[in-house]
């Protein structure tokens, strides 16, 4: 509860609320599993139910709903009614956003916090406000880099306003997500974001040559794999790029082969920019590389499937025993495919 509400009277004790009939929560006689609310919460929600019943939309409703969501940020009915009240009053929605800034940071795990901002941004129709929101979400993500709601909201801002002008909303996105991956190359939320920016939301300004973009992204993922080979996020992105661009996995065979050896020292000394070698600390062989190579063999089909089966066996029995059932399934499926 914020300081604003400390030491204030209950609504039941305030003369300015005397005209509202509070409505207690009906749960049946001798209710099962009641929540032991504080007196303040019970009082505020009694008055909220009264207000909703009367259909009042006024400044004091904003104060009441603010009080309730401070005690329970997941009270979606209070959020919903607050939003309707803001619209009915023609309230200053920018001011509402600023009021909610600190609140969003404190309660970032709550759906309603982010949905409310989305409703406000939709109503505001202001790209400038959206740009400010990008900065705001970047600050929040700096503290909690994988917050699902914040990421979804940021992605919504980008596609909803879809401002691809020079210096527009999309402009700084790839560089920003690269910064996040510099900080933590294992941040899967950032990888997903990159996929959305580059592949899943149309073509960005300057990205018209899709083949070139494919090469750049593939190279980007390979560099990140070299840095920390046992990082599923980077491998998943690489696979995503290949599948999206319908590029055969076999085009990466020489890269992947660097990661299936049992010791990084065995890797060739020659510097090959297309096929970055694992760093010194890399723990090899890398399960993701083995899996990838088996997929290459399976895609090639015919005699090659036997090689895939050998790899799947080694994954099942040695390198990735937790997924033994899955690798056995892949063996059955692969052999069936080879016969068909």
């Amino acid at each position: 509860m914020s300081a604003e509400f400390e030491d204030v009277l209950l609504y039941a004790e305030r003369p300015e609320w005397a005209d509202v009939t509070p409505l207690p929560q009906y749960q049946g006689v001798d209710a099962l599993a009641p929540i032991n609310y504080s007196a303040e919460y019970q009082d505020a929600t009694d008055y909220f139910r009264g207000i909703v019943k009367a259909g009042e939309k006024s400044p004091r409703v904003l104060a009441l709903t603010w009080n309730i969501i401070n005690m329970n940020p997941a009270h979606y009915s209070a959020w919903q009614y607050r939003y309707k009240t803001l619209l009915a009053m023609g309230a200053d929605l920018e001011a509402e956003l600023r009021l909610m800034d600190d609140f969003a940071v404190t309660n970032m795990k709550t759906y309603q916090v982010w949905h409310h901002r989305r409703l406000l941004l939709t109503a505001l129709r202001s790209p400038a406000a959206a740009a400010a929101e990008l900065a705001f979400t970047a600050r929040v993500l700096a503290g909690d880099a994988k917050n699902y709601h914040t990421w979804s909201y940021r992605q919504w801002l980008l596609v909803h306003f879809n401002d691809d002008d020079e210096g527009g909303l999309w402009a700084g996105e790839r560089a920003w997500v690269e910064e996040l991956l510099e900080k933590d190359v294992r941040n899967n939320s950032a990888w997903h974001h990159r996929f959305l920016v580059v592949w899943a939301s149309g073509v960005r300004r300057g990205d018209e040559d899709r083949e070139a973009v494919g090469r750049t992204e593939s190279a980007f993922a390979k560099d990140k794999i070299a840095l920390a080979p046992n990082n599923p996020s980077a491998w998943n992105y690489l696979r995503g790029v290949l599948e999206h661009t319908k590029t055969p996995f076999a085009t990466l065979t020489s890269f992947v082969e660097l990661y299936i050896v049992s010791d990084a020292a065995e890797a060739p000394e020659v510097v090959d920019l297309d096929n970055p070698a694992p760093t010194e600390g890399a723990q090899l062989p890398c399960v993701h590389a083995l899996e990838f190579l088996a997929d290459v063999y399976e895609q090639e089909g015919g005699e090659q499937v036997a090689k895939a089966v050998e790899i799947w066996k080694s994954l099942a029995n040695e390198h990735d025993t937790m997924r033994k059932k899955y690798w056995e399934y892949r063996i059955r499926d692969g052999l069936q495919g080879a016969r068909a």
Partner: protein
């Protein structure tokens, strides 16, 4: 015999980041909860390994919440009161705990107080109607309710509920969770589960839903929480070529909701997407659209990769490079029976059918020596998931949890137990059960119990949708020869119908009532083939 656990830490490649630091901390904590006998790669020996489901303390935990109520810190769940009911009652169902008549009556009274006058249920009394709360309330009523006055079932205003559903429907096939609320696949799952249970399915309700679900699959194979509709659905109409980007990465909870929704939609896909000319005058052409597809290969890959390694005790995580959490035992673990159901019998094991009798024999053997021969064809490690729930998920003082040293709560108590159930049992669609249900199907009775819907549709096709949805939902049976209990059968929890997260019996009773059908008696799947 249990295979020795590979307890190697997740490789950090000499390159630590925030993610790998948190991962290491968690691995150390979890490793401390692994019994010594497993740590040394030994055999599971029940006499010296505490692989015991503490049924009684969990039941006491749930009962305490029910009788004494929830402490003040649960104020944040004031809008989830229907969920608190569902989590508690379904956890009882898992544990095989029945409730007395008076408790059930009070529970019905409490749940019905959350029904909104404009249709659907709110998270608490006088709260706005919400899809999630509606599922939670109806699921809870499936456990504590019955037909007849005061039984709770006939007090559900299904006509108004249907109108509420239609009032939150969007043009892209998605649904708002509440008026002015967000769109996501959780709400859609909740709506489809309830509409299937209560006989509310219509083509107008389902229009566009398969395309929406398919659009939420990410490049990783799992599903995100929603897709963006405005490029494909503008004032100019529908553009199937426009991108519908997924907002949010692949996530266990959303993936369960999307996958279960996809299974619910199979009858609609079969009946309404057939592109063939009208055969008779009163049967208009099926909607001539290409049925959307989901990528099962990448989905299976993603699901199996959510299982943590030995050092994570085989628990499930909800996203790539995140930490294991007991609740994903269900959200991800519960996806596997759904995948098996979609692939059809024998798909995950070519020899599945011929092995049934052998399995039953082995099951009898396993009851004696508390061991099993590994003929299991599941796609994930069922023993390891049970170990996670038993060793890490249980709080010593009762209730289950995310991971140690966290506190238990109602949510994790149910989803850990449901995940344990998914790992212990094999539940799947059964062909002969489906045939038996079809034989006794009464189309007129089901039609009379349905709600009045919007635009007229071919009655024949609507009858088919109702019948197929009923058969698809109720033909799931437990393969009783394929169960596995880490720590012995004393740890058995009830089997779970994976589409609804209810027991098979509760699902049957409720659907029997709302489709007004007579159900043929059930013969256990494996027992039928036993000599």
């Amino acid at each position: 015999m249990a295979s020795p656990r590979d307890l190697r830490p997740t490789p950090t490649d000499g390159y630590s980041t925030a993610t790998s630091f948190m991962q290491q901390d968690t691995e150390e904590t979890l490793l401390a909860h692994l019994p010594q006998s497993l740590a040394s790669g030994g055999v599971i020996a029940s006499q010296n390994v505490p692989a015991v489901l503490q049924r009684n303390v969990h039941m006491q935990y749930l009962l305490r919440n029910l009788r004494q109520g929830f402490p003040q810190r649960y104020t944040g769940q004031d809008a989830s009161q229907a969920w608190l009911m569902h989590w508690t009652f379904q956890a009882f169902s898992c544990l095989g705990v029945g409730m007395d008549g008076e408790t059930k009556r009070k529970a019905r009274e409490k749940i019905l107080a959350m029904q909104h006058e404009s249709g659907g249920f709110g998270g608490g009394p006088s709260q706005a109607p919400h899809l999630l709360a509606t599922y939670a309330a109806v699921s809870a009523l499936a456990v504590v309710g019955e037909p007849g006055p005061g039984g709770g079932w006939d007090e559900i205003d299904r006509q108004k509920m249907y109108e509420f559903f239609m009032s939150v429907k969007q043009s892209d096939g998605s649904f708002l969770v509440s008026h002015h609320g967000e769109v996501d696949v959780r709400g859609l799952y909740c709506l489809l589960a309830v509409a299937t249970l209560l006989n509310l399915l219509t083509p107008e309700l389902l229009q566009g839903v398969p395309e929406f679900i398919a659009s939420c699959q990410t490049y990783e194979g799992g599903f995100g929480n929603a897709s963006f509709p405005d490029w494909a659905f503008s004032t100019d109409g529908y553009d199937p070529a426009a991108p519908r980007p997924v907002l949010g990465e692949a996530h266990g909870g959303y993936t369960f909701c999307a996958l279960a929704s996809w299974v619910f939609l199979q009858p609609y896909l079969r009946i309404y997407y057939k592109s063939k000319p009208p055969s008779t005058a009163d049967a208009p052409a099926a909607i001539d659209r290409i049925p959307p597809t989901i990528n099962m290969r990448s989905l299976i890959r993603w699901l199996t990769h959510m299982q943590g390694t030995g050092i994570e005790l085989g628990g499930f995580k909800g996203r790539t490079n995140k930490l294991v959490d007991g609740c994903y035992s269900w959200w991800v673990g519960g996806c596997f029976p759904l995948v098996d159901g979609l692939l059809g019998p024998g798909a995950s094991a070519a020899t599945h059918e011929t092995e049934t009798a052998t399995k039953a024999e082995h099951a009898q053997a396993s009851a004696e020596d508390n061991d099993w021969l590994d003929i299991d064809d599941a796609l994930f490690n069922r023993e390891a998931l049970q170990e996670y729930v038993l060793f890490a998920g249980q709080h010593p003082a009762g209730g289950l949890r995310d991971k140690p040293p966290k506190h238990p709560d109602s949510y994790h108590t149910l989803y850990c137990l449901a995940g344990l159930s998914a790992a212990q049992h094999r539940v799947g669609p059964d062909h002969s059960r489906r045939e038996a249900l079809l034989q006794s199907w009464d189309a007129d009775a089901a039609r009379q119990k349905a709600v009045a819907s919007g635009p007229p549709d071919s009655q024949e096709r609507l009858d088919s949708l109702r019948r197929e949805s009923f058969l698809d939902a109720l033909c799931w049976l437990e393969d009783e020869g394929a169960d596995k209990y880490v720590g012995g059968s004393a740890n058995r929890v009830n089997a779970t119908q994976p589409l609804f997260n209810l027991t098979i019996t509760h699902t049957e009773l409720m659907m029997k009532h709302f489709y007004q059908q007579n159900l043929p008696s059930r013969v256990p799947k494996a027992a039928a083939t036993r000599p």
